[in-house]
Each structure stands twice: as C-alpha cells, then as structure tokens.
Subunit: 172 residues, 2 copies
C-alpha cells in the first residue's frame, strides 16, 4: 500500500510517464537478426520491444541476444545473422502493464527492467514507461514532499510495533 501523499505527487507527472509507441523504436518478429543488429546498434538502446504484424507486443530483444548468435564455437560469424529471425531469439516472457497506471505495480516492475511495455486489452502495443521518467518523478517527489506536506514521525505506543499498529505492511 502506497500512501496518498506519495501517490499524488507521483501522479502529478502522469501524462509524461507514457512514452507513446510512435516514438519508441521496435522490431517486427519476422525481421532477421542482421536488420536487428543494425537497428539496435544505431538507436543506442540495448533492448527494445518486438511487435507482430497486428502491432501486438510479442517479446523483447536485446543487442546481446543478437550478438550471442554471431559466436560460432570460437570464431565470430556474422553471416549466421541473416538466417535467424527475431522471433527465434527474443525474450517472450514480457511483463507488460495497462492503463490506468498502478504506481505500485510500476515501481515494482522497474526494479528489474529498464522499461515496462504498456498494452491495451488486445495486447496492442501503446508505448513504454521508463526508469528515466520514473526517476524524474522520484526527484520531484523527494524535493516537493516536505514543501507541500508537514511530515511528523509517528508515535508508536510502548510494546507496539508498526506492523501491529497499522496491520498493513510487515516491518523490515
């Protein structure tokens, strides 16, 4: 459970959180890895979404997924790349999220990935939420919270733990 003050400061930046799909570099599942290598090297992002012909999100692919396929026992063999499809090496285990945003879920998913894809109820790709935008919100939160709110340490009754007192979140 995230408190209301924290949530409300996070959501002040809500309209900037979603980077629209039109502005996100993606690959198609039927592209070959030679094309994927070119795209991933040029855009400067190490991992991007993979869509099918219906614009549905089907996976994520990273530059290292592609480069790994060039290693042929000991030598580097770039010719292999033309024969392999993006769908053969992409990571299909993608955790996407949907609108409206759930800040708690987003913060959780971003611990393990640089971005979260956003889809609609038909899996159509809408865009991404990035760590970069969330960290901008964190900066904003850290600076604004104690300007906008008075923050007082809670008094806990003797013998009572936070956990008991609020019965919401295990004390760490």
């Amino acid at each position: 459970m995230i408190g209301n003050a924290v949530k409300s400061i996070f959501l002040e930046n809500e309209e900037n959180l979603l980077i629209n799909g039109d502005n996100v570099a993606t690959l198609t599942d039927t592209n070959n890895l030679e094309h994927a290598l070119l795209v991933l090297t040029n855009i400067g992002y190490s991992k991007i979404p993979v869509l099918n012909k219906e614009q549905q999100l089907v996976g994520l692919i990273s530059l290292s997924n592609v480069v790994s396929e060039m290693f042929d026992t000991e030598s580097i063999n770039p010719e292999r790349l033309a024969e392999i499809k993006v769908s053969d090496v992409m990571d299909k285990n993608v955790k996407a999220t949907m609108l409206p945003f759930n800040i708690e879920k987003i913060l959780n998913l971003l611990v393990d990935g640089n971005f979260i894809p956003v889809v609609d109820d038909k899996e159509k790709f809408l865009g991404i939420i990035t760590r970069k935008e969330i960290l901008k919100s964190v900066n904003h939160l850290a600076h604004e919270l104690e300007l906008k709110y008075d923050v007082y340490e809670k008094e806990i009754q003797e013998g009572e733990t936070l956990n008991k007192a609020f019965n919401i979140y295990p004390k760490r």
Copy 2:
C-alpha cells in the same frame, strides 16, 4: 533540498546502495574489442566501467560502442575488432560520485544513466550505484513513508505561494 524524512528513509538502505567493485564486471583500457565483445555479450550488462592498470576509472564502454566498430561501410567485419583498443572507443565523459553518498546528487545522475561509478579521491574505482538498488529504496520509501510519518497537506496563506513561503525551491 531533499527533506529529512525522505532522506532518512532512503539512507536506511545505504549499505546496500554500493555494489562493491569486486563484484562488478569491468574492462581494462588496453583490452582489444574482440575481448570486450565477448565480455559484454556474456555478462548481460550493456555498459560497464573501464579501468587502467592502476585500477582508476577512465571510461565506460557499451556493447553498441563495440558493435559499431564492426560495421565496415555496408558489410559486417568482425576482424577489425582485434586491432582496436577499448580506450579508442570508450566514453571518457564519465560522471562518478564519491563517499559519503549525497542522495540528491545520486538521484539526479541516475535520471540519465543506469549506474553511477563510485571512486575515491585518487579516482580509484570502488564500485557502482545502480538504478535497480535506488528503485528498491523508492519502493521502500513509497510504502513506508506514510506508515512511519503523519503527512498533512500544508496550509498556504492566501496570496502566498509555496515558493514565497519557503524560499527554497521554485514551484513548478
């Protein structure tokens, strides 16, 4: 200026923020790019620190820095990699930080990079602070703040802005 409650919750996790240099994959500035390609592909991180023989931080190198050097006009030519050194392609414009940690600076630097290198006063590499660990702290902060503290919206006098009232941080 970051408020005390926010700062103190962030610093509860301080000892976990620094990932010790011994546990961070690095390259040496004199390594060639064939070696760099192997290391960067195997570790699964897209960018890592570069050290000199004195263990000082001298740059950062990414998988896409290396792969870019394989493109020979139109074809892919991996043989070039053996002749190029890490120091020739690394990014030398590195923003590092030092101990003790300044949470405000760290939050700011992590908006633009996946990690911040930490060095001592002789530029010796001590480790990194990652977005992953900071986002764990953000999760902790978001959950704990309103359990540990009472948070009340401030009452601003009529005609007075937050900026005037506190004269610290420009209102957005």
